[in-house]
Symmetry: C2
Subunit: 232 residues, 2 copies
Amino acid sequence: MENVKIIEIKKSVFENNDRAADELRGELKTKGVFLLNLMSSPGSGKTTTLIQTINRLKDKIRIAVMEADIDSDVDAIKIKEATGVESIQLHTGGMCHLDAEMTEQGLTALLVEGQKSKVERQPDLVILENVGNLVCPAEFDTGAVKNAMILSVPEGHDKPLKYPLMFSICDVVVINKIDVLPYFDFDMEKCKEYIHMRNPKATVIPICAKTGEGVDVFAEWLLTEVKNWQND
Amino acid sequence: MENVKIIEIKKSVFENNDRAADELRGELKTKGVFLLNLMSSPGSGKTTTLIQTINRLKDKIRIAVMEADIDSDVDAIKIKEATGVESIQLHTGGMCHLDAEMTEQGLTALLVEGQKSKVERQPDLVILENVGNLVCPAEFDTGAVKNAMILSVPEGHDKPLKYPLMFSICDVVVINKIDVLPYFDFDMEKCKEYIHMRNPKATVIPICAKTGEGVDVFAEWLLTEVKNWQND
């Protein structure tokens, strides 16, 4: 293997929002609200996965969705139309991630909106669809109870090597688009091995959001986590 | 279409690096060096596209590569092994993008490295492979002469709607992985239409980096741009 020159360009960009995130989690615990932070690259299938998952869970628990996007609102509308659950769009105004303060702004708006719709009960589960980006969202604790990410087969099984922080902070990694496995050089076993190098405790769930294959397993994982959070 | 609540969360994160970028471009012009900034999502095939392109051009012009990555150096090694051209790795230390100052650090290191290898002539073309991210790299002018991006078929044809800034600043959009078009709901004509909504002047080049299909067209585009820059 050849040697290449490596230049270290370090720069601090991390705002300390850890305390705000911990406070938010404390509030959510008191209220019995479970917040899931869902992250991925652009185009990995977050919205389709959410629709499939919500439709399997919405008769069991009350769900709401916050869609973060740079400036479109197509996802929030899609979710609302396809599932009927409360859904709001968070415009980040160009920002590449959400932090705890922005997440709290969204939650507040969601609860006010819920009151307007005369919703008696607050949601058991709020899902935050973060900005499509494997780098920045991993650096900012949103205050979520659990972090989830979707890696899709066409992106390649080497991504845990290249985006180590994202994989190390995620409790569950959903591997989407398994229907196209025959057309890509994607090694599922290697992918699992790389994910577990970053985070030995990560749960890995292969799915195909388009056909629904495997989505039951993810929905079951999520329901169990919500119940544990509320009953702990 | 249903209405959804939209929350505007604006925050200024853009450092003003425009002057530094313009200065860098001025220097590059004096030296006759063309800098291409190549951006994309993770897993869209930047490195494979580069290898194919460099191998078509390296006997015609002198090429060097700067690979930006959060902390691995697999890409710089891969490029060097597969093409033989000078290649350095820029570690961003967690940063999600490169700005003009970081790019200049890389260029300086590259030229020093070139001198050590007793390279007489400086490169005609330096390619900067930016961090895999459709959001942040678009916000920071690196000082490049032209911006290029790769969108891969599995990511979907709607991406110009969701990442408007990235598409509006790119002079050329390479659409990669056209070999898997039959397995995805990707509408090439719609994709071109959306790209041109963002940037009517963008050149769109469909390719398959794996098989080499269409890469000649991209290589030709790049060679013409380099010659124009040097002879203008």
